[in-house]
């Protein structure tokens, strides 16, 4: 046991001595969270739009105010002439144009219908779609509240976004970032640190020493396990206090899940290190084999349902996919074990599988 402690102490020294790496480890997730949370956001606030009110009556003015009062839009240019429009779009001064037809109020009153045209700049299709949706829903609400309070529409669509009423993107990015960072620290760092011993030649020394192979593996794992747990707490903390990402589920379940995923990532890191002879190779395999799938195939950025069938099947084999699903369920929906047991079962299975393979490979490498 004392041998093992001596080994773990050495590992912590490696880790802490390399303060640049530690700085990067702690810096990346925080920078990433702030970027994802503030810059790369799919919510729209104060989008620059133009409103061409050809009617300028009481009703159209009220609607215009309603639109501007929503907080989603702001008018940057006054538009008086249809000819201006094309130019404004080209220059990028406005992202959407709302045209209210002539005699808007009168038509609405007499015929019960009036026309509104929405023109969007679809060179950025996502934003265009969102702006158009916002506009339509505001107009619809305006119509039902202001114009026909007594009138019952035939079909009324009442939207509610469960678990994330305001569609805040932080709720999506925080769990995704946790998955990414835990992969980064656990798998990447562990594989590099083992590959480093091989490259340096110190691995031979460790192998001929009285340390058992399992002690060597565990000694490599412990520091990164500690670091990963700290990191997970930091990210969840930043998410909770700065971005108000809720933690609705049980904390015990949450940390159980985190630990499970960290162990899984560590096992993957060891597996990689049994294949990679140098630090570079270990880094490359980790980045391409683990980081990219975590970003692209886990449902973090792209919804799995929208992927081609082949990629959907591929994503089944990706641990972060199951981790993310369970993590979101626990944090955002506040469900208990009864609802995430299948994901946890899959992750546990993967953990056992990868551990067995990597311990085996480690032994084989010793033999030959």
């Amino acid at each position: 046991m004392n041998r093992f402690i001596a080994f773990v102490r050495k590992e912590f020294k490696h880790l802490l001595r390399d303060y640049r790496t530690v700085l990067i480890i702690f810096g990346i997730p925080i920078a990433q969270l702030l970027l994802f949370g503030h810059v790369i956001t799919t919510e729209i606030k104060d989008a620059e739009v133009g409103i061409l009110d050809l009617s300028r009556d009481e009703v159209s003015t009220k609607l215009t105010q309603k639109l501007l009062g929503s907080g989603y839009f702001k008018v940057s240019e006054d538009i008086h002439n249809v000819n201006q429009i094309e130019n404004l779009f080209r220059k990028g001064k406005i992202r959407e144009l709302i045209v209210l037809e002539e005699n808007f109020g009168n038509k609405l009153r007499r015929e019960g219908k009036a026309q509104i045209q929405i023109i969007t700049d679809a060179s950025d299709p996502n934003t265009a779609g969102i702006l158009s949706n916002y506009t339509q829903s505001i107009v619809a609400r305006f119509f039902s509240e202001e114009m026909a309070p007594g009138l019952k529409p035939l079909i009324q669509v009442d939207q509610r976004m469960f678990y994330n009423e305001e569609l805040r993107s932080a709720n999506m990015f925080v769990p995704g970032t946790i998955a990414l960072i835990l992969m980064l620290i656990s798998a990447l760092m562990t594989s590099i640190s083992i590959a480093r011993e091989k490259e340096l030649g110190t691995m031979e020394i460790l192998l001929v020493s009285p340390l058992r192979p399992l002690q060597i593996i565990m000694g490599k794992v412990v520091p990164y396990l500690v670091l990963s747990v700290i990191m997970a707490v930091v990210i969840i903390g930043v998410g909770f206090f700065i971005f108000h990402v809720p933690i609705r589920g049980s904390l015990i379940l949450l940390f159980g899940l985190l630990t499970l995923f960290i162990l899984l990532a560590l096992a993957l890191g060891i597996l990689i290190s049994t294949v990679a002879k140098t630090q570079q190779v270990a880094m490359l395999i980790s980045l391409v084999g683990l980081m990219l799938p975590t970003m692209l195939l886990s449902g973090f950025i792209f919804p799995i349902e929208n992927m081609p069938k082949a990629l959907q099947y591929l994503s089944i084999a990706m641990p972060p996919r199951w981790f993310l699903a369970a993590l979101k369920d626990i944090m955002l929906k506040g469900v208990g074990l009864a609802y995430v047991w299948d994901e946890i079962l899959i992750l546990t299975g993967m953990l056992i599988g990868f551990t067995l393979i990597s311990v085996r490979k480690f032994q084989i490498r010793l033999e030959s």
């Binding site: 001596a6 050495k10 020394i205």
Partner: protein, 249 residues
């Protein structure tokens, strides 16, 4: 150097290998090796690359199991007492065996810890060692701040920290300048005088002359084993290098 005259005074056998075979599929890496090494002996283990030296060293140091044969190292058999073997041997290779991001003291403390030495014993031996090399001032410096020539000598001394009965040296002087190599051999003799058995592989044939006995391997077999002097007589060669060429061709 007059070391070649040194006789082997000790007669206790510390490495006893009888009919050792190691097969990888149809490939025979070690083909019926038999030899003994006595306490305090400097045993040279020569052979071209791929002759099977590394395989044999791995078996003797408990990293790998032989296919068959009776082998004991430091009194323990290599089949099921590898833990005891590992505690009683030291090991050093041509590769760098110290951590370049740790200080001298931290490196030594780590080795002491891994070999189960108490803090007190580790501290005593560390001071002894640093005193001997005149490196006390570097105790808290990173390994990288030391001159390169020092590192191999230091690595050797660290490999002896737990006072093993046998130390395996796998091409310890590769890429080291002649002066350092000479100093390195002085350390080896010192250790051997103290009763530590030295099991060394090398590509430098002049170093082979310094060994008490030399074995030469070729294609998995030991083809010659004797004192350097005797080998030279037997093969009518002026140097071990010539002997090696005559055998390995």
């Amino acid at each position: 150097m007059k070391y070649t005259q040194r006789s082997t005074r000790h007669h206790d056998v510390v490495i006893d290998v009888q009919h050792m075979y190691k097969r990888f599929g149809s490939f025979v890496a070690n083909d019926d090796l038999s030899f003994t090494v006595r306490k305090g002996e400097i045993f040279g283990f020569l052979g071209a690359n791929g002759a099977g030296k590394t395989t044999a060293i791995k078996i003797l140091s408990g990293l790998s199991k032989p296919t068959s044969g009776e082998i004991s190292v430091a009194g323990y058999n290599v089949y099921n007492q590898t833990e005891a073997i590992k505690r009683n041997i030291g090991y050093m290779s041509q590769k760098f065996s110290l951590y370049d991001d740790l200080t001298l003291a931290e490196n030594i403390r780590f080795y002491g810890g891994v070999y189960g030495l108490s803090r007190k014993v580790t501290r005593e031996r560390m001071d002894e060692l640093l005193e001997q090399f005149g490196l006390m001032d570097f105790k808290k410096s990173l390994i990288t701040s030391l001159p390169l020539g020092w590192l191999q000598k230091l690595a050797f001394s660290v490999a002896l920290l737990h006072k093993p009965s046998i130390v395996f040296l796998d091409e310890p002087t590769s890429g080291v300048d002649p002066i350092t190599r000479r100093q390195f051999w002085e350390l080896i003799y010192q250790a051997a005088e103290g009763g530590t058995t030295i099991f060394i592989t090398t590509h430098y044939m002049d170093e082979a002359e310094y060994c008490d006995r030399v074995s030469i391997m070729d294609q998995g077999k030991i083809v010659a084993l004797d004192k350097p002097q005797k080998l030279k007589q037997e093969y009518q060669a002026g140097t071990i290098y010539d002997v090696f060429l005559k055998i390995a061709r």
